[in-house]
């Protein structure tokens, strides 16, 4: 075991953000027999959500230092995208956050449409909202399931969540052809028009979703062990969260009212009536509850979208299907993905390939505060805190 680790992709020992009050880090004299125990968790570890690695220095069971190490899943996403056409990057965006390909698709299409000056027909806008919110349901239900697994349940909540997620994913498959790698959005609209039967099935499913949420909450939200394990654990205050650039449910759990669906009102979110739940403590429990409440709001948005979905084309008839050559310029398109602000920055020099292609991955940026959240808590808590941040390594490492 190498205490210093590789410097690639790791944080400097002193976090730039105001650290929470924690014990002073003593030097590790002898990793095995010294005062502190250094435990390397990952990249092969059951609960680091993929190939993430945490090098935790423990005093007893308490974490005095934690170094996140990542990059084990680096696939050169951005460089690949700079060497292929604009369209060919679309299926690669599925593989960023493989739990929510449809919202990532949208973010990329949004950026490219900005660059191309491409309008989007109304029906496609609604379809995008429908699919993005269903993706949010998928992501959040997965997340709470995994969170409980990190908390030590023997898979029961996870499998309940997967049962419901599977129903939504089946719908994705029957619409887009693939369960997770949907590759659905195009510049100027969507790829396939859902049939009325599909819409009806989706509407019914979404209608029944709150029943699952109620059961789920009854099972574990009031559980005493759950409360004791999550309340007051991994606190992030609003200032810290803003300084670190957190977005999404993690930010809102700290009480910062910042939801791009409200702030930017991109797409047709301006027409939707929904609320943004906010937490007051910024701890793991808040992060969990914000997601549950967001799922309930998503169900509301979906009901409105199904009601208002207009007839019409799903693709702008004038839109080019391939061989896009945007004028020289740049565009940044961002949407409120399930994990936070997912943005794509494209710079065009007029060639068929983007000159620069940059992803703003919410998972990675939300992860920056991990050490500050974990300091002073126990090893068992660090796993839970990591789970509550909600990362997907495909997006962290890209």
């Amino acid at each position: 075991m190498n205490p210093s680790g590789n410097s690639c992709g790791s944080f400097p020992a002193a976090s730039p953000f105001a650290p929470v009050a924690g014990p002073i880090v003593r030097s590790v004299t002898d990793p095995f027999h010294g005062d502190l125990l250094e435990v390397s968790m990952g990249p092969q570890h059951p609960s680091t959500h993929g190939v993430f690695r945490m090098v935790a220095t423990l005093d007893g069971e308490q974490i005095v230092k934690l170094k996140p190490v990542f990059g084990y899943l680096h696939r050169n996403h951005e460089k690949i995208a700079e060497n292929t056409s604009y369209l060919a990057s679309m299926p690669y965006t599925d593989r960023l956050d493989y739990l929510c390909s449809l919202s990532t698709n949208w973010a990329y299409a949004f950026a490219a449409e900005k660059l191309l000056g491409q309008p989007v027909p109304d029906r496609a806008q609604y379809l995008r909202i429908i699919l993005a919110e269903m993706t949010r349901l998928v992501n959040h239900s997965c997340l709470v399931g995994f969170l409980f697994n990190d908390l030590g349940t023997s898979f029961t909540p996870l499998l309940y969540a997967f049962r419901e997620r599977e129903k939504i994913i089946d719908l994705f498959e029957s619409l887009t052809g693939s369960r997770m790698m949907c590759n659905y959005q195009r510049f100027g609209g969507c790829r396939v028009d859902p049939t009325p039967e599909w819409l009806e099935a989706a509407r019914k499913l979404v209608e029944n979703f709150p029943r699952f949420l109620d059961e789920y909450e009854r099972m574990l939200t009031g559980n005493e062990i759950m409360l004791a394990r999550t309340q007051g654990i991994g606190r992030v205050n609003a200032a810290q969260a803003i300084n670190a650039g957190l977005t999404g449910p993690v930010l809102r759990a700290s009480g910062v009212d910042y939801d791009l669906r409200k702030v930017d009102a991109y797409g047709f979110y301006g027409r939707m009536d929904f609320r943004v739940p906010l937490g007051d403590h910024g701890d793991t429990y808040d992060r969990y509850m914000i997601r549950i409440l967001e799922m309930r709001e998503s169900v509301k948005i979906l009901a409105q979208a199904f009601r208002d979905l207009p007839a019409g084309p799903i693709m702008d008839p004038k839109a080019k299907q391939r061989g896009h050559r945007p004028k020289a310029g740049e565009a940044y398109g961002r949407i409120e993905g399930p994990k936070g602000e997912i943005g794509f920055h494209l710079i065009s020099d007029g060639s068929p390939n983007p000159y620069r292609y940059r992803v703003r991955p919410p998972s990675l940026i939300n992860l920056t505060l991990l050490e500050d959240m974990c300091l002073g808590h126990t090893l068992a808590d660090s796993v839970v805190i990591l789970g509550s941040i909600d990362i997907v390594l495909g997006e962290v490492d890209r």
């Binding site: 095995f32 125990l37 250094e38 435990v39 968790m41 570890h45 059951p46 609960s47 423990l58 069971e61 409980f148 697994n149 990190d150 908390l151 030590g152 349940t153 023997s154 898979f155 029961t156 499998l159 309940y160 049962r163 099972m219 574990l220 939200t221 009031g222 559980n223 005493e224 062990i225 759950m226 409360l227 004791a228 394990r229 309340q231 007051g232 009212d257 939801d259 409200k262 609320r275 943004v276 739940p277 906010l278 937490g279 007051d280 403590h281 429990y285 808040d286 509850m289 914000i290 409440l293 126990t378 090893l379 068992a380 808590d381 660090s382 796993v383």
Partner: protein, 415 residues
């Protein structure tokens, strides 16, 4: 013994008759040895089979709890000697045997830095000691492997060595996860041995004996010929039973107290560096421990082999015992399928700040109960009321302090 036995119904004495018949076949000097060997063999084989089917039952039950089917594939193996092949999958009931073959044929990997001797000894010690506990469990009216005067003491003495073995396993693996798990196992043992024993003390107090046989016999009374006098149906017995259940879960490292093998942070805890049959032995010992402690719970609180009503006594006593045992195990599996894991500091706090005071008060409660045994009529109601109050009030008060600061929250929405 045979005089008492002869008056019993056939089913009740069938196991003993069978043993005696086998012993008669042996030459006279070997009969003593044969008698004991058969008993040992019966206990080991019986509970090993029970263990095998507990694992498959656990997986199937957990599967159903989680809306899955559970293992249902392993059926009749295809033997070429048979003229036909039974295609039935037997509902997956042969899964444990398939697992055993797999575990036996797996490579046994010992880390290079491990303490080889302790690494090897740990699974042996843990299985040996967990099997020893079965010796004093009265499985049926006449089925007690060893009748000991200090049976309860023996039970706890034999059981306490298992955590020592966990420590050996964790320390000898030379793995940080294992070492942390070993520390947790020690902390857990120290914390939960006390409430476990304290929860049993009231029974010793009331019955005035440490013998499991005598304790079961003292529960074989029925009010109005219907209501069994099991200790769980008294206020102090109920409280003791709950404390016993919680402490049992902790002692056997079952969810929600499975910290030594917390897979979400410690991979597999003390078992991280074990593979193949050694791993299977640990697994076996864990289930033996759970079965033995459940059996003790049945014996002490649920009337042992006694039937719940006199008219049900035609069913042999050992079936009643097994039925109750299965009920306890199903409850443990249900708990495992529902609850999440405590943290180590919460685990110890739960024991020292909640279970130990409750168990101590419960001893006082039992003392009150046995002192007022002669109260009758309306006084009996007073007795029940006081005993109930002695259970409920401390539970509420201690529960409030234990869960202080933790409550579900309400959330605001952005305007």
């Amino acid at each position: 013994m045979s005089a008492v036995l002869a008056s019993e119904p056939f089913l009740e004495r069938a196991p003993l008759e069978l043993r005696d018949a086998v012993v008669q076949l042996l030459p006279a000097p070997a009969q003593w040895l044969g008698h004991h060997l058969i008993t040992i063999l019966a206990v080991v084989l019986g509970f090993s089979l029970f263990f095998a089917f507990t694992t498959v039952a656990e997986r199937k039950l957990l599967g159903r709890l989680q809306n899955r089917l559970g293992p249902n594939r392993a059926g009749v193996p295809k033997f070429s000697i048979l003229p036909f092949h039974l295609r039935h999958k037997l509902f997956g009931l042969s899964q444990p045997f398939a697992d055993a073959i797999k575990a036996l044929t797996k490579e046994d990997i010992v880390p290079a830095a491990a303490d080889k001797l302790l690494h090897f000894l740990a699974p042996v010690v843990v299985v040996a000691f967990s099997l020893m506990t079965f010796a004093v469990l009265p499985v049926g009216r006449h089925l007690v492997p060893v009748e000991l005067d200090a049976a309860l003491l023996y039970f706890f003495a034999a059981g306490c060595a298992s955590e020592l073995a966990l420590f050996m396993a964790g320390w000898s693996s030379r793995n940080k996860y294992s070492l942390l798990a070993a520390m947790r196992a020690l902390a857990q043992l120290i914390s939960y041995e006390l409430p476990l024993i304290l929860s049993v003390v009231p029974i010793v107090l009331v019955t005035g004996t440490l013998s499991t046989v005598a304790i079961v016999q003292s529960q074989g009374v029925w009010s109005f010929g219907l209501l069994p006098h099991w200790f769980v149906f008294t206020p102090w017995g109920f409280a003791g039973f709950i404390i016993f259940l919680i402490a049992t879960l902790a002692e056997t490292n079952r969810s929600p107290f499975d910290l030594p093998e917390a897979e979400s942070e410690l991979v597999a805890g003390h078992l991280t560096e074990y593979s193949g049959f050694k791993y299977a032995l640990f697994f076996m010992a864990e289930y033996f421990g759970m079965t033995a402690l459940s059996g003790l719970g049945v014996t002490l609180f649920l009337g042992g082999w006694q039937a719940p009503a006199p008219f049900l006594e035609f069913i042999p006593s050992y079936l009643w015992f097994m039925g109750k045992l299965v009920g306890m195990l199903v409850f443990f599996i249900w708990i495992r399928g529902t609850l999440l894991r405590l943290r180590i500091d919460q685990l110890t706090r739960l024991s020292w700040q909640f279970l130990v005071p409750l168990a101590l008060l419960n001893v006082g409660n039992a003392a009150f109960w046995s002192l007022t045994a002669h109260w009758s009529g309306p006084l009996n109601l007073v007795r029940w009321a006081i005993a109930l109050a002695l259970v409920v009030t401390p539970f509420l008060l201690l529960g409030r302090t234990l869960s202080a600061g933790f409550a579900p929250r309400t959330y605001r929405y952005a305007s």
